[in-house]
């Protein structure tokens, strides 16, 4: 049994909104092993995005402990966190979140720029990644000139730029039609099987969950079921 790459121990997240406490996560404990393809499912407001932000080291627990790649995130400095986000984690967002001023190639190169990858190397790698998501004809296009599906493919290429240990995706198909969504998931699955990386996807779409090996069901800030077989939940539905 390998050491878990993501480990949450009794994680709480409490937001303070106008003096009213809002508990997004209520003591979540979870372990994800290297190479897992995990789906986090749950209705909106269930706390799944909060959970994902923590796994992405973008947000931090109010209480409890979070270990990424064996490191206690609360003990890391700002620079170490930046390094973690840049090298260990790849992030895919629902609304793509490409920089509008940069073209596809530049967007994919950006994480490598932040890690100081030499120019020649990062240009080659970014091109290779864009080809692998089927965008060889769109390399110099601005995000505004791309369709939603194409933008998300650029975002996927970007998330793999620094060969991260894990890629986490927040509703990656949420803004796409089902056909395009299917293509996006197929690309993610291809990357998963080729590169053997950990992939965590947040979704409320059972069809998406079907691509994963494990499903974490979350409701009202608590993990309800921790299915180890995707088929179980699909069958339940």
């Amino acid at each position: 049994m390998p050491d878990s790459i993501i480990k949450l121990e009794d994680v709480w997240k409490i937001y303070l909104l106008d003096k009213v406490e809002l508990t997004a996560l209520k003591g979540v404990s979870l372990e994800i092993n290297p190479g897992d393809f995990v789906t986090v499912m749950g209705p909106s407001g269930s706390g799944k995005s909060t959970l994902l932000n923590m796994i992405g080291a973008l947000d931090f627990p109010t209480k409890g402990k979070l270990f990424l790649n064996g490191k206690d995130v609360s003990l890391l400095s700002e620079n170490e966190l930046a390094l973690l986000r840049g090298k260990t984690i790849g992030f895919i967002f629902q609304e793509f979140n490409l920089l509008p001023n940069l073209n596809a190639l530049q967007n994919v190169m950006l994480p490598m720029i932040f890690q100081g990858v030499p120019e020649k190397e990062r240009v080659e790698k970014a091109k290779r990644l864009l080809v692998s998501v089927g965008l060889e004809g769109r390399i110099m296009h601005q995000p505004a000139e791309l369709s939603g599906g194409e933008r998300q493919r650029v975002a996927i290429a970007r998330s793999f730029a620094n060969d991260p240990e894990m890629v986490i995706a927040d509703e990656p198909t949420g803004n796409l039609d089902s056909k395009t969504g299917k293509m996006i998931m197929e690309i993610l699955e291809k990357f998963h099987s080729e590169k053997k990386k950990t992939i965590v996807v947040v979704t409320h779409d059972p069809n998406i969950a079907g691509y994963s090996e494990k499903i974490v069901n979350i409701k009202d800030g608590e993990v309800v079921v921790n299915h180890h077989q995707a088929s179980e939940i699909l069958w339940q539905k």
Binding site: E78, A82, R85, Q115, N162
Partner: protein
């Protein structure tokens, strides 16, 4: 700041620079308006400083041409400038004699001037007339004031002969004035026998010079009086001491004559004249720098304002960059560069415009007589105009850039969602 320094020397600097440049271009109108604020400030500094420097060097040059060993005696008290410009008072014959009798005085050159109508060909113009005792005058003026003839010869005393300055010869009359031609002054005819080379100031070049006796005859002024006296001191005497002697001697005569103690004349050495001019111009320059600095500060505040707006608008972008691994120092560098670029472009624009304007004034000054004048655009001033605004931009952008760098990624990402 150490963090910015370390990332500046890494390869990604070029990329940050191009990201910053692209950000500026995407909101071009606002960027240009901000740049304009800096342009105005730099333009003011460059143009006004180069003009006042030019003025300073012109005046210094003119004073140098007067020669170091001259003393000027003028009626009217220097501490009361009005009385000097009104020019009502004059030196009487006894005054001039008293100056001549002071210890250390070699030669005394008295001068009088007034305006009068002169006609050349079909054209009549009001012109300055000056009377100088030509016999002793020419020697002193040639040797110590640098007078020389471009054409013709010096006038003979006792004849109706005059010499004219460059402006009279070339600018004042439509027709160019040549030597050995006739000019009618105050209804009487004179022969122009010589044209002077430029004396270094447009006003001095606008005179018709004639012998003192001729001048007194023409204008009807009292014999032996003068409006200004130039003294050449004896070789080896001390300039300040001689000036003091003249003052004492003149005061004594006046006391005897009028029975008053009031000093209504001024004795200035050429050195002192330079000091006075230098001081006045120094004050003017300080005022110019102060006002132009205010303009640059306002421009800097404009940059701060634009950058804060830009940080607010791009909060989400900042969140994205942080989510994909940007360090705080990278964000700081990008935004500082943006502010620095705005400052630099403003600096280049302001410097170009300032130099252009100064040159324009210089050219205008050559065409329209007031004084000969060259804008002094030193390399130091240019470097200042190009480099200083960059730092203004960086300082102005520091606060917004720090705000951007310290944003929490999850909060930044949530904006506008």
């Amino acid at each position: 700041m150490a963090e910015i320094g370390s990332s500046l020397f890494k390869g990604e600097t070029k990329e940050y620079f191009s990201i910053a440049l692209r950000n500026i271009r995407t909101r071009s109108l606002r960027s240009w308006l901000t740049i304009l604020g800096i342009v105005i400030g730099v333009f003011l500094i460059i143009s006004l400083l180069s003009l006042s420097e030019g003025l300073k060097s012109t005046i210094t040059k003119q004073l140098k041409s007067l020669g170091g060993e001259m003393i000027f005696v003028m009626p009217g008290d220097m501490s009361n400038p009005l009385s000097m410009f009104m020019g009502g008072s004059k030196f009487e014959r006894q005054d001039i004699e008293a100056i001549g009798n002071a210890e250390g005085v070699d030669k005394v050159l008295s001068m009088s001037y007034q305006s009068g109508v002169a006609r050349y060909g079909e054209e009549s113009k009001t012109i300055f007339l000056a009377g100088i005792p030509m016999k002793i005058g020419i020697e002193v003026l040639e040797k110590f004031q640098g007078w020389s003839l471009e054409k013709g010869r010096w006038p003979n005393t006792g004849k109706r002969e005059v010499i004219i300055g460059q402006q009279v010869a070339n600018e004042i009359f439509k027709e160019k004035v040549g030597v050995n031609t006739e000019i009618t002054i105050k209804g009487r005819r004179f022969e122009i026998v010589g044209i002077l080379n430029s004396l270094g100031s447009k006003s001095d070049d606008s005179y018709i010079y004639m012998d003192m006796s001729l001048y007194e005859w023409l204008t009807g002024e009292k014999k032996g009086t003068a409006q200004q006296v130039i003294v050449k001191i004896q070789d080896g005497s001390n300039l300040d001491q001689v000036a003091e002697n003249i003052k004492e001697s003149l005061q004594e005569t006046r006391k005897r004559r009028a029975g008053t103690d009031t000093v209504d004349f001024s004795v200035i050495t050429s050195e002192k004249m330079g000091d006075i001019a230098g001081n006045i111009l120094g004050v003017i320059q300080i005022v110019i720098v102060a006002f132009a600095s205010i303009a640059i500060i306002v421009g800097g505040i404009g940059i701060t304002n634009t950058m804060f707006t830009s940080v607010r608008e791009r909060t989400k972008e900042i969140g994205i960059m942080k989510a994909i691994g940007a360090k705080n120092s990278a964000i700081l560098t990008i935004f500082l560069m943006e502010a620095g670029i705005i400052g630099s472009i403003g600096g280049v624009g302001g410097t170009l415009l300032g130099v252009f304007f100064a040159k324009l004034i210089e050219i205008y000054g050559q065409v329209h007589p007031l004084f000969y004048f060259a804008a002094s655009i030193s390399p130091g001033l240019i470097i200042f105009g190009l480099v200083f605004p960059f730092f203004v931009g960086c300082i102005a952008g520091l606060l917004p850039a720090k705000q951007a760098a310290s944003m929490k990624p999850v909060e930044a990402l949530r904006r506008f969602e």
